[in-house]
Symmetry: C2
Subunit: 336 residues, 2 copies
DNA sequence: GACTGGCACTCGGTATCATCGACTGCCAAC
DNA sequence: GTTGGCAGTCGATGATACCGAGTGCCAGTC
C-alpha cells in the first residue's frame, strides 16, 4: 500500500467531511464541503479530491449518488490530526464543581464520575476503580457472622475495602478468629494483597485452618473480576443508534464487566487513547468508538476511565472531557 | 360503573386474547380466538362478546378493523385470575444449581442473582440488597489512610460491610483512632447502625472529634441511597420494544437507583405482586409491568427482587421465577 | 333467546410507480 | 490545475391501488 501524504487541500476537505458527518450523521456531498469556510475551491474540485480520498480509503460512499462518509481510516486520520482538544469553560467549571463537592465513599465517587462523564459527553461512560493490587494493606480483621461463617475484611491504603466470606469446616470462636486475623495482619500489613499466598502458617492447627481459609479465599477471586468497574449513562447509547438491535448488542457488551475492563486495558496497552470501530477488537462494537485515559493517584497509574460512543462521536469533545476528568479524578483521589 | 361478573365464556375469551397477545404481540381477532381450544363457539359469537369486553374496558382496538389487545384492566383481570404459577422443571433446576454453586461475597451473589433472574425471564431484573438497618453491628474499626483521612468500617451480622470516609480537621494518630473506634464499638455493637446518633461522647476532646466525625458520616448518607440495588439484563429491554425511544426512556429509569428502589417498595407497600403499566406510578413505565417479591432472611423481610418487562410480559412465568428465586435467595442467605 | 353464517364495510399494510432532488463522474473550456 | 455544465444514478417521498384481516350487523336457525 502506497501511502501518499495528503496535501493541504485534501486535508481541509477530509476534515470538513468528518466534522460535518459527526455533526449531521448524514453523508456529506461535495457542495456542502465547498460551502465550508475552510475550503475555497469549487464543488467540482472537491469532487475530484473526494474521489481520490475514497480511493485512498479515507472515505466511502453508502451508495452511488450519495455523499461520502468517513471510513475507520478516515476517523483515525482525523483523530491523529486533531489539535490538543480543550474543554469549554462551562464544562470545565462543571467538572471542577463536581470534584470540589465530591466526598465520602470512593466507590460512590467513582460511580458518580461515570454520570459526570456521561453527562458531559452524552455517551456511555466507564470508570475502572483502583485495583486491589494497588493498595497496601493497612488493616486486617476477621469477624464471625455465624458459627461456621466469618468475614475477612482488609482495608487498603487507597480506601478500598476487600472482603471475603469464609466458610469454615468447624466452629471457631472469636478468640481464634482474632488470633488468625492478628497473624495474617502481621504478615500482610504493609504489603499488597498479592502477597497473601506467601503468608506462612501460624503453627497452631485450629488457628491455621482459619488462616488457610482466608488465604485461599483471597487467591480464589484474584484472577476473576478483580477490578471494580462502574458503567453510567448506558441509556444514552439508545439515542446514538436508530436500530434497536444495535442498541441491544452494545448494551449487552456493557453489561459484561470483564469484557469492558479488558477492552479498556487492551486499548491502553496498545498505547492508544482512541479505538475506532473494529480497532476495539470487539466485533459487536464495530459501530462504536472508545476514548480512554488512565488516572494516576500519587503518581501511579491507579485506574482507567473511558467513554463509549458511536464511531461518529465528537472525538474532540470526548477527548477533552476524558482528559480533564481523569486528571481531576486522580488529583482528587491523591489528596485523599 | 357497573361491574358485571364475567360469565364463563367471556372468561375463556378474555384469557385467550391475553395469552395470544402475550405470545404474538399482535392484535388478536375473533377468528383466532374461535380457533383456540378453550373456546368452542363461532367467531361471530366471539365478536359479540369481544364487543362487550371492550365496552367493559377489558379490551381495546388500536383502530377499527383491527383485532383487540388487552387494556391494563384486562391484564389486571388476567393476572388476578391466574392460577398459582409454577416453574418448569428445567428452570427450577437452574435456580437450584445456581444457589448451590453460589458462595462468597453477598454483593456478588446479589448481582449474580439479577443475571439469573434476567436469564430466566428474558426481562430486566432488579435485586435490592439487605438494608443496613437490618443487620446488627458486629465490629467497628477506624483505619487511618492519610494524616487527616480515616476510614470507618462497620461489619454487620448479615455480612454487609458499611464504610465511610472521615475527613478530619486535624491529624490523628492510630492510637486516637483506635480509642475512638473502641468507644463507638462499645455503644454500637449489638444494635443497628440507626442507633449511631445516640452514641454519647467519650469525654476526651481529641477522641471525640473523631467520634463526632464518624457519627455524622453515618447520619449523612442515611436518608439517601441507603439501599444497595443491583440491576441486570437491562439490555433485554431493548428486545422488548421496537421503538428506540421507548428503550431509552426505560433504560434511563433503570439507571436511577433511587427511583427503582422506591418503585419496588411502593408496589410492595400497596400489597401488590404485580404492577401493570400506569399502576407502577411512573409515567415513563406506562408500557412496562413489574413483578416483585420480598425475600426473607431468618424469617425477616430483608430485601426485594423484581422483574421489569413490557406490559405484555409472560406474567405466569415471571411470577413463578420471581417467587422461586426470592424463596431460594432468602434460604441461601439465611444459612449464611 | 342464543348462536351462527353471511355480507358490507373499514382501514392499515404492502406493492407499484412516478417524481424529486441530492449526489456523482466526466468533459470541455478557461 | 480548476471550473461550470451536464447526463446519469439512486434513495427518499408521495400518490394510488389493492389486499386481507377484522369488525358490526342482520336475518335465519335451533
Amino acid at each position: 500500500m502506497v501511502v501518499v501524504m495528503l496535501d493541504e487541500r485534501k486535508t481541509s476537505i477530509l476534515r470538513a467531511v468528518v466534522e460535518e458527518y459527526i455533526h449531521t450523521a448524514q453523508p456529506v456531498g461535495s457542495s456542502h464541503v465547498a460551502a465550508s469556510s475552510q475550503v475555497t475551491v469549487s464543488s467540482a474540485t472537491v469532487r475530484n479530491d473526494m474521489a481520490t480520498l475514497e480511493a485512498d480509503g479515507y472515505l466511502q460512499q453508502p451508495h452511488t449518488s450519495a455523499g461520502r462518509i468517513p471510513t475507520e481510516k478516515g476517523y483515525r486520520w482525523f483523530v491523529d490530526a486533531l489539535a490538543e482538544p480543550s474543554l469549554d469553560r462551562a464544562a470545565s467549571q462543571q467538572v471542577r464543581a463536581f470534584f470540589n463537592r465530591a466526598h465520602g465513599e470512593i466507590e460512590q465517587m467513582l460511580d458518580d464520575t461515570t454520570r459526570l462523564l456521561s453527562g458531559l459527553t452524552d455517551y456511555a461512560a466507564v470508570v475502572v476503580g483502583p485495583a486491589h493490587e494497588g493498595g497496601t494493606v493497612r488493616s486486617v480483621q476477621i469477624v464471625g457472622l455465624a458459627p461456621r461463617v466469618a468475614l475477612f475484611v482488609a482495608v487498603l491504603g487507597n480506601g478500598v475495602v476487600e472482603k471475603r466470606t469464609l466458610e469454615l469446616a468447624e466452629e471457631a470462636d472469636e478468640a481464634r478468629l482474632a488470633s488468625a486475623a492478628a497473624h495474617v495482619s502481621r504478615h500482610l500489613v504493609g504489603s499488597t494483597l498479592a502477597a497473601a499466598p506467601s503468608v506462612p502458617l501460624a503453627g497452631a492447627p485450629d488457628v491455621d485452618r482459619v488462616v488457610t481459609a482466608a488465604v485461599s479465599a483471597l487467591a480464589d477471586t484474584e484472577d476473576a473480576e478483580t477490578d471494580h468497574v462502574f458503567v453510567g449513562g448506558a441509556s444514552r447509547m439508545a439515542a446514538a443508534f436508530d436500530a434497536v438491535e444495535s442498541v441491544r448488542s452494545v448494551l449487552a457488551i456493557l453489561e459484561q464487566q470483564l469484557v469492558v475492563v479488558s477492552l479498556l486495558r487492551d486499548v491502553l496497552d496498545r498505547g492508544l487513547t482512541v479505538a475506532i470501530g473494529t480497532e476495539t477488537g470487539i466485533h459487536r462494537l464495530a459501530e462504536c468508538s472508545v476514548v480512554v485515559a488512565p488516572y494516576e493517584v500519587e503518581g501511579e497509574r491507579a485506574g482507567t476511565i473511558g467513554v463509549l460512543g458511536p464511531t461518529r462521536m465528537n472525538y474532540s469533545h470526548a477527548l477533552a472531557a476524558v482528559a480533564v476528568v481523569s486528571n481531576r479524578l486522580g488529583r482528587r483521589l491523591s489528596e485523599g
